[in-house]
């Protein structure tokens, strides 16, 4: 069954954000979306999540048109974690994670059901937040907070997990911890992951496929190690990068400067 977009266009006033974009979502895999600032990565993710419905063209999830799904149906299938999510600091982790069950029961329901509690427990376990579940959100470190939000998304028991720059503002150790949780979720639960990433090396290391967003459309899509190389980095980001080979033969790219074209742009 097809998941992805066909001829997807988004306009904000007269400004084109996405232009007749066609993307195929590889089911059961991890897809990274990379591209320069302002390329429309967040917009694309919000459209795929069903949050932003002011688009033309089609978004298809498991063969179904996204427009035909209600908010609650969408929420049971797709979980979306926006960038810089925030919560009232006095609410506990468990309470926040329980909100992931909102679409699974009546809006006015007071009590949490057995299946809801199980899903919340599961989500806490998968993100190693069980011990912290009674902490108020305000008492967590940035990395713990991001794991709490990840648990919130998992409590929805989605087939698709959409993440907008999940490692922003995190230190190196927490970045790796979050990316490893995401990789585990995919390999253990078969969850399809789509994530906007700004670190090319993260895309190489943690994504099966990478889609490059440039000039309002998908410039290239395919296995990460085939899509990402010095020439694509130069043309998409305007950055000269050097390739190193890490352990296991994996490629690592280190940006060393701007390409000459970007240099000229800068001087103007």
């Amino acid at each position: 069954m097809f998941s992805g977009t066909r001829q997807l266009s988004v306009k904000r006033g007269n400004v084109t954000v996405l232009d007749r974009l066609s993307l195929t979502i590889p089911r059961g895999k991890r897809l990274a979306i990379i591209g320069p600032n302002g390329a429309g990565k967040s917009t694309l993710l919000r459209v795929l999540a069903g949050i932003d419905r002011s688009y033309e063209g089609e978004v298809i999830i498991d063969g179904q048109n996204l427009r035909d799904l209600t908010r609650r149906q969408t929420a049971r299938r797709i979980a979306f974690l926006p960038q810089g999510a925030a919560a009232p600091p006095d609410m506990t982790v468990r309470q926040i994670v329980t909100y992931g069950r909102y679409a699974h029961r009546a809006p006015w329901a007071i009590r949490t059901g057995q299946s809801d509690r199980k899903a919340v427990d599961n989500a806490l376990t998968l993100t190693s937040m069980t011990d912290l579940q009674d902490r108020p959100m305000g008492a967590l470190s940035g990395g713990e907070r991001q794991r709490a939000f990840l648990a919130l998304a998992l409590a929805q028991e989605p087939a698709y997990l959409l993440l907008d720059e999940p490692t922003t503002y995190l230190d190196l150790a927490h970045q790796i911890a979050v990316m490893q949780i995401i990789r585990d979720l995919n390999s253990r639960l078969g969850m399809t992951v789509i994530m906007v990433l700004h670190d090319i090396n993260h895309a190489l290391q943690y994504a099966d496929e990478t889609a490059v967003l440039a000039n309002h459309t998908i410039a290239a899509q395919g296995p990460s190690d085939q899509i990402i190389d010095t020439s694509s980095i130069a043309s998409v980001f305007g950055v000269r990068a050097e390739r190193f080979t890490g352990s296991g033969g994996r490629s690592v790219y280190v940006p060393v400067g701007l390409t000459s074209k970007a240099n000229i742009d800068n001087k103007e």
């Binding site: 919000r46 929420a75 979306f80 926006p82 006095d90 506990t92 909102y102 679409a103 809006p107 579940q133």
Partner: protein
């Protein structure tokens, strides 16, 4: 559930119980104190129909309905403020400050002055006025989402516009203006059973709807995108809850006039004490709002006895500095 979360849960229930006791105490004092003081035993006698005629008269016809009115008005304004602060994501949102009360006031004054024969229309008209003002504020403040500061600015503008309308009406109907003037200041003097029966249905509907919406209100605290992703229909929830907040504020305004700052002070105090979870915040706001108005009304009655201060003046004296304090903390 483990012990820690149970404790926290029961701690919040205990706080609610404490607020209930506080509200009942304020209620009791309000029944006893005034130009004529009634002792507890005399009050019980009056309540059971074995007291002196004067005490019975004061208890049944003056103090009891007035105190009930005050409690309901306080609860309505506080819950209205708690809802508005959540859906507008703005700590300064309060039916009075952002002009929802002015909308209700303008509609109320219009009925009172231009159609005095149809006084039963005051509450429905006030509701429409409040809702109209809320919608106007949204339209003015909307620019790719709701921005806290823009809402306040739009509210101030709408409020000024509506107040100008009220002033114009008062000048046009200057021969009937006295009643409207007393009403506008915000007070509870001479409020009796007709006002109680006018308030009760609106209060019941408004509070029940608000409590049922605790969970959607909680979801909105996570931000629009996250709430939408969790399955909430954000715009619909906002619109519906604005209507509930307007209904509560309008019913309060239609019996007690423009009582300011209750909807600002009480939800803040409640949030500090019991947290931002709406399942607890709403009942806490209702109880504390009722306690604050009955208590303040008693104080306003006693401060310059035998002269009586409208409770609205006392609330403004308390509330304006609090508003400035919040504003300072916010920026």
């Amino acid at each position: 559930m483990d012990r820690a979360s149970l404790q926290r849960g029961s701690g919040r229930f205990r706080l609610l119980l404490l607020f209930l006791v506080l509200m009942m105490s304020a209620f009791g004092v309000s029944l006893m104190k005034g130009t004529v003081s009634i002792r507890p035993d005399e009050m019980i006698a009056a309540a059971t129909g074995t007291g002196s005629g004067l005490h019975e008269q004061i208890f049944w016809n003056i103090r009891l309905p007035r105190t009930i009115t005050g409690a309901l008005v306080g609860a309505n304004l506080a819950v209205s403020g708690a809802i508005l602060q959540g859906i507008m994501r703005n700590p300064l949102a309060d039916p009075h400050i952002i002009g929802i009360s002015s909308g209700a006031g303008l509609a109320g004054v219009l009925v009172m002055l231009a159609f005095p024969a149809y006084s039963w229309l005051i509450t429905p008209a006030a509701f429409l006025g409040a809702m109209g003002a809320a919608v106007m504020i949204y339209l003015l403040a909307w620019k790719q989402g709701i921005q806290p500061v823009r809402i306040i600015l739009a509210g101030v503008a709408v409020s000024a516009f509506l107040s100008a309308g009220i002033s114009a009406l008062m000048i046009l109907y200057s021969e009937r203006v006295h009643g409207a003037l007393v009403w506008l200041v915000g007070g509870l003097s001479a409020r009796s059973w007709p006002e109680v029966s006018m308030l009760v249905p609106y209060t019941a509907i408004g509070l029940i709807l608000a409590f049922l919406a605790s969970r959607p209100l909680n979801l909105l605290l996570l931000g629009d995108d996250l709430a939408r992703g969790l399955g909430l229909r954000v715009e619909l929830t906002r619109l519906a809850m604005t209507a509930v907040a307007a209904l509560l504020a309008a019913s309060a305004v239609s019996v007690a006039g423009l009582l300011g700052f209750v909807g600002l002070i009480v939800p803040h105090a409640a949030r500090l004490l019991i947290g931002s979870d709406y399942r607890f915040l709403l009942p806490a706001s209702a109880l504390l709002g009722a306690a604050l108005i009955t208590g303040s009304d008693t104080a306003a009655r006693l401060l310059f006895a035998p002269a009586e201060l409208p409770v609205g003046i006392l609330m403004a004296a308390l509330g304006a500095p609090f508003f400035l304090f919040l504003l300072r903390r916010m920026t």
